[in-house]
Amino acid sequence: MPTAIKSKDFVISLKGIRNQFGDHILHDHLDLDIRKGEVLGVVGGSGTGKSVLMRTIIGLNQKAAGSIKILKQDVDQVSQAELRALRQRMGVLFQDGALFSSLTVSQNIEAVINEHTKLPKQFVREIAALKIVLAGLPIEAGDKYPSELSGGMRKRAGIARALALDPDILFLDEPTAGLDPIGAAQFDALIAKLQDTLGLTVVMITHDLDSLHAICNRIGVLLDKKIKVGTISELSKEPDPWIKEYFGGPRGRAATRSHA
């Protein structure tokens, strides 16, 4: 089991975040620091706003209050151009890949690179091929359309696109949902490998207890509109009933045993 990274080098800092939809307050006074090079798993019951939190960090959701610092820059104080540059340093894998369906996998990746650089076409294609292989897909998958891929392959293709510009931070929304246990374990291994070789910081929303045990340095639990962060062993000692049930329930115990 990976251990917590102790560094004080924060790539993302949230302070006093509030998210609300109408009268419904989802997050309030939420603070979160994400350390450079760690894999942070985000868990929480349905409706606690895991995806909303992720979308808030990426900038797809407008927060009601609070401040967000990404790579030490406050997103509310930087210019549009700087914000765009910051966005390029974050890669996102949406739940079902969210690949552009009218483009092949390779074109999906090339489109991102071509949009932001002026590199020769053949070289861009070679970068795309590299990303496809890095994501664990056979090179032939590059010329296929997303609809021709299985769910697991679509997720890998989504990772390949998320890596197109070599981001520093990778966000994953339920990366192992809908995969069989073997596929899920391979996907965990892929994330761990990418994190290690490319020096990524990974934030993943997941409900897969095996993933939490296998690759996450720390876990953030969304609870009472805030997030509680710690390693699994730290969280297991929390008195909160939801956390107790989560890690101490039959599935949680089984996962702990198999990764002990």
Binding site: Q88, S101, S102, S106, I113, H116, T117, K118, L119, P120, Q122, F123, R125, E126, I127, A129, L130, K131, V133, L134, I139, G142, D143, S147, L163, A164, L165, D166, T197, L198, G199
Partner: protein
């Protein structure tokens, strides 16, 4: 972050290349230009020297930077040059190793055809696609006819609720648009007709033009085209969405035949409603003609009606109306068929919907032309 750079310094036996800056995807373009332009100048005359790459000053190298560097290095080795690396920082070493392990040496070119070959291939493909589509449509027609016969012999199987719901959706909700367009077409016909016929002093025949034009052709044709755009597309989108959501498969597993439940109510509903809509369109067209004729010819409404009785026969009316159920059948058949052809992606719903409307309007107009010829041969 500084731009990536490569500097050369040479002595007798070695050419040292100092790499510096951030070798990242965004910045890489400048160094590529630098290297490709320096190929001819800086390196001339030192082709046999050993090249030492000094990577000490590299701040960041990402996968694209590493890939380019490795390709550059190999390009030199490929022409017989010797290379070596010097003082590689740990993080650069790691990325170089990762990229070296995963890269594809020969990236397959994009399989794209060009020019005449592409034209021929595309023509052939679309030709065979059209043939399969026609085959599938005919097969679907058979399925529908069998289901129709089954329902007619056993009227209990008719689904009345969806039938009536469809008739409301297709018919009543289309009244405003059909009425407005028919009225305006009546106005336009009368206006243009009066202008031309005035030269012969035969302005009064404007009424004939409007009556025959609207009753025989314009009423039904416009109504059919509006309905194809409004309801034919809706059929495709509805059935297509159900197909994407696996609702149609679910229906089959609980023993419901989608043809019975979804397709027949739509086809029957449209066949019942389109003649009524056409009748309504005829009236609105004639009223539009009346409005314009009364203005330009200075007739009263009663005079207009009086002339109308001489101008148009009941036969003209039936020629128009008789086409309605035929067009309705074609529009609904194509709409439902294209809906069921949707594959399991949202994108194909849009594609099939477009195709459904285009096909339906195409068939309606072709059939209308054929029927016109048939009627004129029959002397109706």
């Amino acid at each position: 972050m500084t731009s990536p750079e490569i500097k050369f310094s040479s002595d007798k036996t070695t050419l040292t290349c100092f790499l510096s800056g951030s070798w990242t995807t965004q910045k890489l373009a400048s160094v590529i230009t630098q290297i490709s332009s320096s190929k001819n100048s800086n390196e001339a005359g030192v082709d046999n020297a050993v090249r030492v790459f000094d990577l000490k000053a590299v701040e960041i190298m990402d996968t694209a930077g590493a890939l380019y560097f490795l390709q550059y290095k190999e390009g030199i080795e490929g022409t017989g040059g010797k290379t070596s690396l010097k003082s590689v920082p740990k993080h650069v070493r790691q990325i170089l190793d990762t990229v070296q392990k995963h890269r594809i040496k020969e990236c397959p070119p994009e399989n794209s055809l060009v020019g005449l070959k592409k034209l021929l291939t595309d023509t052939g493909e679309s030709f065979f696609k059209t043939i399969t589509q026609v085959q599938e449509l005919v097969a679907f027609l058979g399925l529908v006819l069998v289901a129709f016969a089954r329902q007619m012999t056993n009227p209990k199987r008719i689904r009345w609720t969806p039938l009536v719901a469809q008739m409301e959706q297709i018919g009543i909700h289309a009244l405003p648009i059909v009425g407005l367009i028919s009225f305006l077409i009546g106005v336009v016909l009368a206006f243009q007709g009066a202008g031309q016929l005035e030269r012969f002093g035969a302005q009064i025949f404007t009424i004939n033009l409007v009556a025959v034009g609207v009753l025989r052709e314009m009423g039904i044709l416009l109504t059919a085209i509006i309905v194809a755009g409004r309801s034919g597309s809706a059929f495709t989108a509805q059935l297509g969405t159900m197909k994407v959501n696996e609702e149609i498969d679910a229906m089959r597993t609980i023993g419901l035949d989608p043809i019975d439940v979804l397709v027949l109510p739509r086809i029957l509903g449209l066949m019942l409603v389109l003649p009524l809509l056409t009748f309504y369109a005829d009236i609105m067209g004639i009223l539009g003609g009346a409005a314009m004729t009364m203005l330009t010819l200075d007739l009263s409404f009663y005079q207009y009606i009086r002339y109308l009785q001489d101008a148009a026969s009941l036969g003209d009316f039936w020629v128009g109306i008789i086409k309605a159920p035929i067009f309705a059948f074609i529009i609904a058949l194509i709409g439902c068929h294209e809906g069921l052809q949707v594959s399991r992606s949202a994108e194909s719903v849009g594609r099939q919907t477009t195709r459904s409307v285009v096909e339906a309007i195409f068939f309606v107009i072709v059939l209308d032309a054929l029927l016109s010829i048939l009627f004129s041969v029959m002397g109706i």
